[in-house]
Amino acid sequence: MPKKNLKRLDLIFKNEHDGEKVLMKTLARPAQEIVNYLIISGLKGRGGAGYPTGLKWKLASEAEGEMKYVICNADEGEPGTFKDREILSQVPNKVLVGMAVCAKIIGAHQGFIYLRGEYKFLLQQLNDVIDDFHVWTNKMGMDFRVNIFLGSGAYICGEETALFESMEGFRGEPRNKPPFPTQAGYRGMPTVINNVETLAHAFSIFKYGPEMFKDLGVQDSRGSKVFSVSGDTPIPGIYELEFGMSVQKFVEDFGDGDAKAVQVGGAAGFCVPRKKFVNTKIGYQGKLTGESLPTGGSMMIFNSSRSMYNVLHNYLDFFVEESCGQCTPCRVGTQQLLLGIEAVKKGERSSDYLNRLLDLAENMRVTAKCGLGQSVANSFSSIVENFKEEMIY
């Protein structure tokens, strides 16, 4: 029977019926104060990249532009992640309040939710919620509308600049940065783009103040986090936990007693082998003891019956298809990694070739244009280095 080491929290999914009131009260506060709230709270982006939310809003509020936009990134495509879907189906109002407050602060009149095509079944109910939400904002005399933009099946569109391209009617190919979205985002205008969960957390911070949030978690990783738990677990699902837990504690709570590895952060994240469970903590890259891993919340558990070669093969298959294809390291590199491990497995290339592939992955990490190509090395290297014999035999 799994233990219950970890405190289960209920900030995000707690049904709050005072969305309208929270919005009105927050809008009545000076913009500067709200931004400070966010900064004090230590809230960082929950999509995985971990940019401080308060700072993002501040930069966009200071940027010049004839139009500004707030976009909620609901293109949740990372394998093993499904929390945003649950947040949008259970507490969409929190997300909308977060967007509206952001709009007020930066001076935006238009917001979008970029909803991945795979979640089209949520469209009707979300539109109904948005209609009700517009009634509130109209009552408050707020000039702000939210529309849903539906994706069409492309993982890369979760990358913020690829998402803009997609919304503008182009292929979802990430842009060069700088400029960053707060300077030039959707249609070249200053844009705040936040993950679904980030906006929902913002709601809690507006309602309960920054201290409550700041008191959760550790050092650079404050607050709670919604985790999507899947794989070899008796209790797959969505759990809100504190940042800073060790993988060991996590596995004790969620594993099936035979966990040999945990993939933290999806295919783009890191694979933690059993021997590193104790020393690996979950949080943004900070000053935690041992290794600290950032995550958009995907936690996939593999037990000893699983072939880590098959796991890696599946990830690489995914990247080979979902790379946008524009930059060399990602387009060609992903194919070479996939074919490379196949060739080693079949004995067509010697096991030394794995070192060449590790070197390739490292080069992809430093040269690829966007987060997708850069992060392929995370899973590749952590799996190949920790499970080398499974790659060869």
Binding site: P79, G80, L150, S152, F170, A267, N314
Partner: protein, 165 residues
């Protein structure tokens, strides 16, 4: 004017003739016609005053914007890691057996197309699949047989709260 031309025109009227309308219009065509024919893409290009190649280039980027004919029911089985771990291969086999088509094919009567797709965001309830826009999760062989049978009979596709789930 053909149906397709009218459809594209009405979608362009609805979403506006802007670059930003391209995806919504293409999605609207796929919704009605299951795929983007050459004729449809040309019409979209004409309405938005952009090149036909650009429409094709954009459409072919997105895996839900089919550029080849599709059946009435497009079945997309998730092939990503946790669904794979939980037996998506036998689910596929069962589907192939029931539909008498292979992955990537459309049945002769034009009713079913069977595809694999990347992560559907249902990892805790794998194996999972989409039939058109509706997710089906925690799939078993028995469930597959029931779903296909009811679709063949012409029953409406159930929603996520369908008792089949």
């Amino acid at each position: 004017m053909t149906e397709t031309v009218n459809l594209v025109k009405s979608l362009a009227d609805k979403y506006g003739r802007y670059h930003e309308s391209l995806l919504p219009i293409l999605q609207g065509v796929v919704q009605e016609e299951k795929y983007l024919s050459e004729e449809a893409m040309v019409e979209v290009a004409r309405e938005l005053d952009i090149s036909a190649a650009r429409v094709f280039g954009t459409a072919s980027f997105y895996s839900f914007l089919n550029t080849k004919p599709m059946g009435e029911y497009v079945i997309r089985v998730c092939k990503t890691i946790t669904c794979m771990m939980h037996g998506k291969n036998i689910i596929i086999q069962e589907l192939e057996k029931n539909l008498k088509i292979r992955v990537g094919e459309t049945s002769h009567d034009g009713k079913f197309t069977l595809l694999e797709t990347n992560c559907l965001g249902q990892c805790h309830k794998g194996p999972a699949m989409l039939i058109n826009d509706t997710p089906y999760t925690d799939l078993t062989l028995e469930k597959i047989r029931d779903i296909i049978q009811s679709l063949k009979k012409g029953d409406l596709v159930g929603s996520i709260s369908n008792p089949l789930n």
